[in-house]
Amino acid sequence: MVEKKTPEQEKENIGSKIVGFFKDFTYGMATHGMARQALKTRSSMEHLFILITMGDMLGIPILPPYYSLRLLPHVVPQITTWKRRMLREKDLMDSMY
């Protein structure tokens, strides 16, 4: 059985759509840039983290690997992009900070 929408529900729907539009609009105006920046910083940190735990993959000697092996499974998907990014940077330090 298909439920018929009452005019009130119809109204509510339009209302929530308008609210949703303004929410997205203000998000785009005010916070999107911030969120983007935060995401960028976050991904830099991710790469820094992999660097200090598995840096020996790039030939940078890091502390003994017995325990860092435990972390390996969790970063497998990021390894390729991390390597590309690390090796692309002109100055390694640029990518760390």
């Binding site: 929410k23 998000y27 916070t31 911030m34 969120a35 935060a38 995401l39 910083t41 976050r42 940190m45 991710e46 820094l48 983290f49 200090i52 735990t53 598995m54 020996d56 993959m57 502390l63 003994p64 690997p65 017995y66 325990y67 092996l69 435990r70 972390l71 390996l72 499974p73 969790h74 970063v75 497998v76 998907p77 390894i79 390729t80 390597k83």
Partner: protein, 327 residues
């Protein structure tokens, strides 16, 4: 104080270690102590992680890599196969990757990283001490007697554990910062906060394990560390140095046990010059030992006329060492 009194007065000291240069009698004393405690009705595990372990030899049983083997009533022995442990561990990591991402095969670069890790020298120490934590954490025994590899290993690990700890502190901090960014981003995007950070949990686990493994060696309540000395000037100097180093890492030193003392009464008999000279040499060294270690010397064990091998020869040694007749 005698060795037996030390054990009586500190029933909480359940982790027993004999340290000293190679060949002084660490394994022999470990076995004898295990024998003594087992005869006293305590459940004892004597274990070793040395790839060239000699517990198999002294108990005349092949126990390498076979788990806890019962040698006699209350006495169990175990030789950890460090190489196999590392291999198993690497396999576990491979399996985890395969399970997590539904992969058929480990990617080339990941595989080579895993392979290369076993070539690192510190890999073995870490694996060894992790194995020790595994053994001790189970808590099935009244006493754990750890037949240490020569001193260097233990010191190296203790210093490494300190560095590890500082390193973990830093990356855990970074991880926490990352988590805050995650939260901020989800608030900005009005999404639900993301699920738990598995890496953070792993870091906490690692911290815990490293803490436990160095604590086993440095816990003043539960650990007793004995040095084995022979009456020779060079050994005494080395032991003194090692004792200072161990003190730096807060290893609780319980005392010294002197091994291979030749019976002085032999001087009254008609003995060859060679033996006479050795007894004189030992007499001087014993004086030095008395000056340097004094009342910390808990027991003097004589040189036996045959090799200590098998329970029949361990028994008389344990009796002399603990100054007590055993059933």
């Amino acid at each position: 104080m005698s060795l037996a009194e030390v054990f009586e007065k500190h029933p909480n000291r359940r982790y027993i270690m004999y340290g000293g240069k190679g060949g002084l009698g660490k394994t022999t004393f470990s076995a004898a102590t295990a024998y003594y405690l087992a005869k006293k009705g305590k459940k004892v595990l004597v274990f070793s992680v040395d790839p060239q372990a000699s517990l198999s030899d002294i108990f005349e049983r092949d126990i390498f890599g076979k788990g806890n083997i019962e040698i006699m009533q209350n006495l169990f022995a175990c030789e950890v196969d460090a190489d196999r442990r590392i291999q198993d561990y690497q396999e576990e990591i491979r399996q985890k990757i395969i399970d997590m991402y539904g992969m058929k095969k480990i990617p080339e670069e990941i595989e080579s990283y895993i392979k290369a890790s076993s070539a690192e020298p510190a890999m073995e120490e870490s694996a060894i001490f992790d194995a020790v934590v595994d053994i001790v954490v189970k808590g099935d025994f009244d006493y754990y007697i750890y037949d240490l590899v020569p001193l260097g290993h233990a010191l190296y690990y203790l210093s490494m554990a300190a560095i590890y700890d500082a390193w973990l502190e830093k990356i855990t901090g970074l991880r926490e910062q990352m988590r805050e960014y995650d939260r901020a981003i989800s608030t900005m995007k009005r999404e639900k906060t993301t699920e738990e950070d598995e890496i953070y949990n792993e870091l906490m686990y690692i911290k815990d394990r490293i803490g436990m493994s160095s604590k086993i060696m440095t816990d003043t309540e539960k650990t007793a560390f004995f040095f084995v000395v022979n009456p020779e000037e060079m050994t005494i100097v080395d032991t003194e140095k090692a004792a200072q180093l161990f003190a730096k890492y807060n290893v609780p030193l319980a005392g010294y046990v002197v091994n291979r003392v030749i019976d002085r009464n032999l001087l009254k008999e008609n003995i060859p010059v060679y033996l006479r000279n050795r007894i004189d040499m030992q007499a001087k060294a014993l004086d030095t030992i008395d000056q340097k270690f004094g009342s910390s010397v808990l027991s003097m064990v004589p040189e036996f006329d045959s090799e200590i091998k098998g329970l029949d020869s361990i028994k008389p040694l344990a009796e002399v060492m603990f100054e007590e007749k055993l059933s």
